[in-house]
Amino acid sequence: MTKLKVATCSLAGCFGCHMSLLDIDEKLFELVKAVEFDRSPITDIKHCGPCDIGIVEGGVCNAENVHVLKEFRRNCRILVAMGACAITGGIPALRNNVDLWDCFQEVYHYGIGLEKGQIPNDPELPLPFDRVHPINEVVRIDYFLPGCPPPADAIWKFLTDLAAGREPKLDYDMLHYD
């Protein structure tokens, strides 16, 4: 049986959705029988290659996020937005009505315990955006899996439905925005 190739990444997120993916526990053994991971925190591959399913956690908050997201869209047959940040901007989007410079000042100059803080300006750092955006505002998304994070059972159900060629369907208890 040909294994499905799956890639995952975290943009402006907290990696909580990935932790929820790991929370499917012993079923991970079943999962790896059917799935081969491309780029993901498990493999540490830097660039996403051609894949069946791409799972994106987190919203878009800087130029690198756009780059990664477009690479995923180019390479993944099915692209899934996983979690509140990818779907609505989530907690990072709480900064959307705060001036970006004020944000930096708060974090790097006035933060508790900071003295003579410096705002990082290395040219290798990606350009931050003034707003955080959900990923469907940048590329086309095929499926949305809500939750903060989505429950492990929801991720399992979603992935097994997709892998089996079924339209993914969540039971009421698995559908949460928080």
Binding site: G90, N96, N97, H133, E137, L175, Y177, D178
Partner: protein, 238 residues
């Protein structure tokens, strides 16, 4: 003889003067809604309760039931429209569920769950809205306001205080407070007011009560909003 109409083929009895919403609720049939509440005059603004009444569309909360009327509610087309309306409500405000203490008890969220909304779909507005934390017991979080005017009606019709109003028009419409300073602390609003309880979202919340019931054990965490209709929707006993 009892008068009846049909709702999705089911025979619904009604009393003269009742709206479709009132008769349906009394019969235990849920029609999605947000701005409607049985204690207050119908408002007809959220349009979620739009039903097909003999071939034309109308709000179930404002249209009166009539003998022999044929009403459709749970159709794929109407629910698709309801889902789109709910998605618009999500993108027009700042509804960040993971950061909201009303999450799990929120009717906006519950209606979205009921309709199977997986994404707000439309481009987010991320509007800049004020938070008013001036009152000692009540927090006004305008980011979550859907302009249903339930607080306006509760304050005016039940509390007799006229604390709230809607100012501005269209996309600039916003919840305003009736005091010279515009601050909630400078009104005679009390935490025991009906207006402090009736908000369907987390826009008006009582302070220091947010996590009395943990997230995951709340009203809509395990029960579809159709299973737990708003108290008072049943027909008053004679």
């Amino acid at each position: 003889m009892t008068k009846t109409f049909t709702l999705d083929g089911k025979v619904i009895p009604f009393e003269e003067g009742e709206t479709i919403m009132e008769a349906a609720a009394a019969a235990g049939v849920y029609i999605p809604h947000l701005c409607h509440h049985p204690e207050f005059k119908p408002h007809g603004s959220c349009k979620l309760c739009t039903v097909n009444i003999g071939g034309r569309l109308g709000a179930a909360c404002t249209n009166r039931a009539a003998e022999g009327m044929k009403v459709e509610s749970e159709t794929e087309a109407l629910n698709a429209d309801r889902r789109a309306l709910t998605q618009m409500l999500f993108v027009e405000g700042n509804h960040i569920c993971p950061s909201c203490e009303k999450s799990g008890n929120c009717q906006l969220q519950a209606v979205a769950y009921h309709l199977g909304m997986l994404t707000p779909h439309f481009t987010h507005f991320y509007p800049a809205r004020d938070v008013d934390a001036s009152h000692p017991d009540v927090l006004l979080e305008r980011n979550r306001c859907i302009l249903c005017e339930l607080c306006v009606r509760a304050s005016r019709d039940v509390d007799g205080k006229n604390v709230f109003g809607i100012g501005g028009r269209g996309i600039k419409a916003r919840l305003i407070v009736n005091s010279a300073s515009g601050r909630l602390a400078d009104t005679d609003m009390s935490v025991t007011d009906r207006a402090a309880e009736v908000c369907p979202t987390g826009a008006i919340i009582r302070k220091r009560h947010g996590f009395t019931v943990p997230i995951g054990q709340r009203l809509y965490d395990h029960h579809d909003i159709a299973e737990v209709p708003v108290a008072g929707m049943e027909r008053p006993k004679k």
